[in-house]
């Protein structure tokens, strides 16, 4: 699988390189803005909004990249080169996911560096806030880890749902004239059903309300509740992701029509 991964990284090298350079340049720009110039509160707020937008843009880009990495093999001509290699469908799928994961990891590392610089500067300005409104650093770290895991698992789940509909299109629906449309509808329905089921299961495991911050006055307790819920959701999503991985791998292995 390492060799398949190397090949996928090779095919991604241009988009990977461009994305890395852009994010690195943005970090350099941010560094000088934050630490070498006298930056106003308004500008700080603007950078915060831009940072959040950039974060979502990278997330969306990675979904597009995930689609591209599979569609070039399933929907365009390049598939035979990979699918004649003697590597099974699971390895091929795993290598593709790993390649996009590596790209995402690198991008989010750079985004994380930018966020760290921004939050460090912001932290200095927020030092005036009352102590009871601050979350303990231990809880905050665990919460950030849970949220990052949740984002990663949601992304994998979404990508696998897309891959499943593409694999269905290139297997069971390959002879259907409206195969593309049907597989897109399958994607929408599947996504909706998975979200609903995950929502129902997670709700059965517990709930929390941000409003309880005001009723209890304990930020740390609310954070712990939220973290627990996010973790429950992560577990359910991982189970679904494993199921989808097996399904897509099996279709790539047994039913593909290239």
């Amino acid at each position: 699988m390492i060799n398949l991964f190397r090949f996928e990284m090779f095919r991604q090298r241009i988009s990977f390189g461009i994305g890395t350079v852009i994010l690195a340049l943005l970090n350099i720009f941010l560094y000088f803005q934050l630490f070498h110039f006298n930056i106003s509160n308004d500008k700080m707020a603007q950078y915060g909004v831009l940072g959040v937008l950039l974060f979502f843009a990278v997330f969306i880009y990675l979904i597009v990249e995930s689609v591209r990495i599979m569609s070039r093999d399933l929907l365009k001509n390049e598939g035979p080169f990979i699918f004649m290699t003697g590597h099974n469908g699971y390895k091929i799928l795993g290598a593709k996911l790993l390649a996009v994961f590596a790209e995402g990891f690198s991008f989010f590392l750079l985004l994380g560096l930018g966020s760290y610089m921004y939050l460090s500067k912001l932290g200095v300005r927020m030092a005036v806030l009352p102590k009871e409104l601050l979350v303990s650093s231990n809880n905050l770290t665990l919460f950030v880890i849970s949220v990052i895991t949740a984002l990663l698992v949601s992304w994998v789940l979404l990508v696998l749902t897309i891959y499943l509909s593409m694999a269905i299109y290139k297997s069971f629906l390959s002879q259907q004239s409206k195969g593309g449309l049907i597989s897109f509808l399958i994607f929408l329905v599947l996504n909706f059903v998975i979200k609903q089921v995950i929502g129902i299961i997670t709700l059965k495991m517990g709930s929390f309300s941000i409003m309880s911050i005001f009723s209890t006055g304990n930020v740390n307790m609310v954070f712990e509740d939220a973290m627990r819920l996010v973790n429950y959701q992560n577990i359910v999503q991982i189970v679904f992701a494993i199921g989808l991985f097996i399904g897509v791998g099996a279709l790539l292995e047994k039913k593909l029509e290239l």
Binding site: N3, R6, N77, E78, M84, G86
Partner: protein
């Protein structure tokens, strides 16, 4: 025997591309599979290479059902331009070696020289003829047991066709099994040991090339024209 198909069938929606094909290929022979466009040659090769699955029947490779790992010993050259365009010829060789294994780098270099290809050239910059040659040498440089070439001369200029024929003739001297599909019978008939005619998904003839020439007192191409102009 290296390959055997038993009642192999393939349906595309309502069209039957292969109809209960029973075929036995012996080790070390060169088979020419001839038939007009749409006769089922590519479908048969794609099933053997694992790019599509059959609707019915089975394929046995060296006596066993084809599994993913069998692909290591089956080298197939499809008609499509399946190489990633952003790579150079050198990259194509490197990744064929990495992903397929059993890649003969020395042979590849010799073929490059023979076909006058520059390993620094990008795939997207190659003409149809050059790409055809590259696909051929990537396939021939693999140390596989069974080789399949789908229309290796299609869209290729006469000079390149001659070189491809030359390379194929040289390669077939080794003890390996070849299945070469084409509708250009004249170009290939001198190099094949056995001839397979495919018509509308059916094998309508499978025999020794020399036997057919003697039996019908004509070349394989003339016999092909006779068979395929019926009804």
């Amino acid at each position: 025997m290296i390959l055997k198909t038993q009642n192999l069938g393939k349906k595309y929606y309502r069209k039957e591309a292969l109809k209960n094909v029973n075929l036995e290929l012996e080790t070390g022979k060169v088979y020419g599979i001839f038939g007009p466009n749409g006769s089922g040659k590519t479908t048969l090769m794609k099933i053997i290479s694992g790019l599509i699955s059959q609707t019915s029947g089975e394929v046995l490779f060296q006596g066993e059902k084809i599994v993913t790992t069998s692909k290591k010993d089956i080298a197939y050259m499809p008609t499509s331009a399946y190489l990633y365009e952003g790579m150079t010829i050198r990259d194509a060789a490197k990744y064929t070696d990495l992903l397929y294994g059993k890649f003969n780098q020395k042979k590849f270099s010799e073929y490059l020289e023979f076909f006058e290809l520059n390993e620094k050239d990008k795939v997207k910059a190659l003409s149809t003829g050059m790409l055809g040659r590259l696909k051929l040498i990537l396939t021939l440089s693999r140390d596989a047991k069974f080789y399949m070439f789908d229309e290796p001369l299609n869209g290729i200029d006469p000079v390149s066709r001659g070189k491809i024929r030359e390379a194929l003739i040289e390669a077939t001297k080794e003890d390996r099994t070849f299945l070469i599909a084409s509708h250009m019978v004249y170009e290939l008939e001198s190099m094949v040991d056995e001839v397979i005619f495919v018509k509308s998904g059916d094998i309508v003839e499978k025999n020794e090339a020399d036997f057919l020439r003697e039996e019908h007192k004509c070349s394989i191409e003339e016999y092909y024209k006779e068979v395929f102009s019926r009804d």
